[in-house]
Structures are given as structure tokens and as C-alpha cells.
């Protein structure tokens, strides 16, 4: 193992903002900041009040865009092959619904509340993701 591209400071600062947002959504709106749950229920049949869910999506976009404008993050993202994006994306969609959460809901919110379910889910998806990358490779040429 060799350590590369390590950016602990920006990672930590970004993490603080994410944690603060998660806390504020619970304190003010009484909601868990679980993005898969919030977004998927825009399309669900038993939807309650869509407007706050759509505000979340727009806020996420606007926040990322503002930082992009201010500090000039890359214009274009390097991605893996389209096949990996499609299959991976569909599995992310199904898996987060079946497993009631993703990196935000289980990883950030659940672990902060010391939820056993979220700790188990987070360890489980991390392990499977590491296994997947070790089998299929990073998907980047260099």
C-alpha cells in the first residue's frame, strides 16, 4: 500500500460543514439528512410534502456550485467507464432503498446518533465497496 493524493485539511473542513448541515436539518426540521431517502421519496407514491425534498436537492447543487465558483474546483470530473456508471448507479439506487440509507443517512447521521443499524450498514457497504474495487480495479487508467 502506498498513500497518494491525501488532502486531510480540506476533507476535514468539508466534513465539518456536512456534519453541521446534518445537525441543523434535525434540529430545525426534525429530519435525518439521508440523501437517498430524501430524494427517492420525491418519486415515491406515499410522498409527504415534496417541496422540502426538492429544496434539499437544489441546495446541494447550489452549495457545490458556489464552492466551484469561489475556489475553482475542476470543470470536468474524471469518471470510470459508462458501463460501470450505469450498473453501479442502479445498484446504488436499489441498495440504498433496500438498506434504508447511504453514506449520509447511515454514515454521517446514523453513526453520530450511535445507531447500531447504521454502524453495521456503514461497515458493510465499506467492506463491499473495497472488495469491489480490489476485484475490478479503480477504473482509472493512471
Amino acid at each position: 500500500m502506498e498513500i497518494i493524493n491525501f488532502t486531510p485539511l480540506s476533507a476535514f473542513i468539508g466534513g465539518i460543514l456536512i456534519g453541521l448541515a446534518a445537525f441543523l436539518l434535525l434540529l430545525l426540521n426534525g429530519r435525518i439528512f439521508g440523501i437517498s431517502g430524501i430524494v427517492s421519496q420525491i418519486f415515491s407514491k406515499d410522498r409527504d410534502n415534496r417541496s422540502w425534498r426538492i429544496s434539499i436537492v437544489l441546495g446541494l447543487l447550489a452549495g457545490a456550485f458556489l464552492i466551484h465558483l469561489f475556489i475553482g474546483t475542476p470543470e470536468k470530473m474524471e469518471t470510470v467507464s459508462n458501463m460501470r456508471l450505469i450498473i453501479g448507479g442502479i445498484l446504488v439506487g436499489i441498495g440504498t432503498r433496500l438498506g434504508s440509507g447511504c453514506t449520509s443517512g447511515h454514515g454521517v447521521c446514523g453513526i453520530s446518533r450511535l445507531s447500531m443499524r447504521s454502524i453495521m450498514a456503514t461497515l458493510n457497504f465499506m467492506v463491499w465497496a473495497i472488495i469491489t474495487v480490489s476485484i475490478f480495479g479503480s477504473g482509472f487508467s493512471n
Binding site: M1, I3, N5, T7, S10, I13, G14, G15, L17, I18, G19, L20, A21, A22, L25, L26, N29, G30, I32, I35, V39, S40, F43, K45, W52, S55, V57, L58, G59, L60, L61, G63, A64, H68, M77, T79, L85, I87, G88, G89, L91, V92, G93, G95, T96, R97, L98, G99, S100, C102, V108, C109, G110, S112, R117, N124, V127, W128, A129, T132
Partner: protein, 148 residues
């Protein structure tokens, strides 16, 4: 009042989106770099999680769990805390989180970054966002089929 509540929620999500872009978690290379433990490893993602969990966890313990904002009064602008009711791990949790992990490792995207990075209007990002939403819809369909 409706406008204020939308603006409040929007502003909270703005912080989250900013955090994703600052920490570069919108970049699949950073995410897959973290997952590529046995090759060339980029540990940054752990620091995002530590920053987020410390901040959220401490504030939660102080202001919500320990009852400064007591559970009876609930959140400031809603009637009650909508917390998950299930406490124990079950079969769907394990299968679901495993499928999510495989998808995350393949694509380098989880739902937040896939959406917040969409301002780039890049075709690959649109493709992964649509695929994730297709996954959500497939799940909904499977639930409908199960019911009938």
C-alpha cells in the same frame, strides 16, 4: 411562511453541498482512491467522516440527546423528530448495504455527490444520476409487485 421554510431547508442543504465540493467527495477519483486500499490509497474520505461525525455527533449529544432541546418540544420548526424506528439489523439492511457498497465501488458515486456535482452538466454525471434514480424506481416497482 412556506417560502421561509423552503429557504431554510435550501440553506441547510447548501452547507452540505459546499462540504461535498470542498472535501472533493464529488470526485469519483477521491472516493475510489479511498476504496483502493490494497493498491494506492487516498485516506481523505476518513477525514470527511471524522469531521462530519464529530460535528454532528457532539451537537446532537449536547442539544438534542441530552435534552437542552427537549424531546417533548421537538424540533424548532416541525412537530416531531422523524427518527428511524428500527433498532436492529435485518436481512434487507445487510443485502441493501452490500448492493450499495458494490455500486459505490463500481461507480465512485453515492447519491449526494451524484446530485450535487450535477451543476457541471457533464454527460457522465447525468448518466450516473439517472442510473441511481432508475435504481430508486426499480425498488419502488419491486415493492408494488410484492404487495400485489
Amino acid at each position: 411562511m412556506r417560502f421561509i421554510s423552503v429557504l431554510r431547508t435550501f440553506s441547510i442543504a447548501l452547507l452540505f453541498g459546499a462540504g461535498l465540493e470542498i472535501s472533493q467527495m464529488n470526485r469519483p477519483r477521491k472516493v475510489i482512491g479511498f476504496l483502493d486500499v490494497f493498491n494506492q490509497w487516498d485516506p481523505s474520505l476518513i477525514f470527511v467522516m471524522i469531521g462530519a461525525i464529530l460535528t454532528n455527533g457532539l451537537l446532537y449529544m449536547i442539544f438534542i440527546k441530552k435534552g437542552r432541546i427537549d424531546k417533548e418540544r421537538g424540533p424548532l420548526f416541525a412537530s416531531e423528530f422523524m427518527l428511524p424506528q428500527k433498532k436492529k439489523g435485518d436481512f434487507p439492511l445487510f443485502i441493501g448495504s452490500a448492493l450499495f457498497g458494490i455500486g459505490w465501488g463500481l461507480s465512485g458515486f453515492c447519491p449526494g455527490p451524484a446530485l450535487s456535482g450535477l451543476f457541471r452538466l457533464q454527460s457522465e454525471l447525468i448518466l450516473v444520476a439517472i442510473s441511481i434514480i432508475a435504481g430508486f424506481l426499480l425498488y419502488e416497482v419491486s415493492q408494488l409487485v410484492k404487495k400485489n
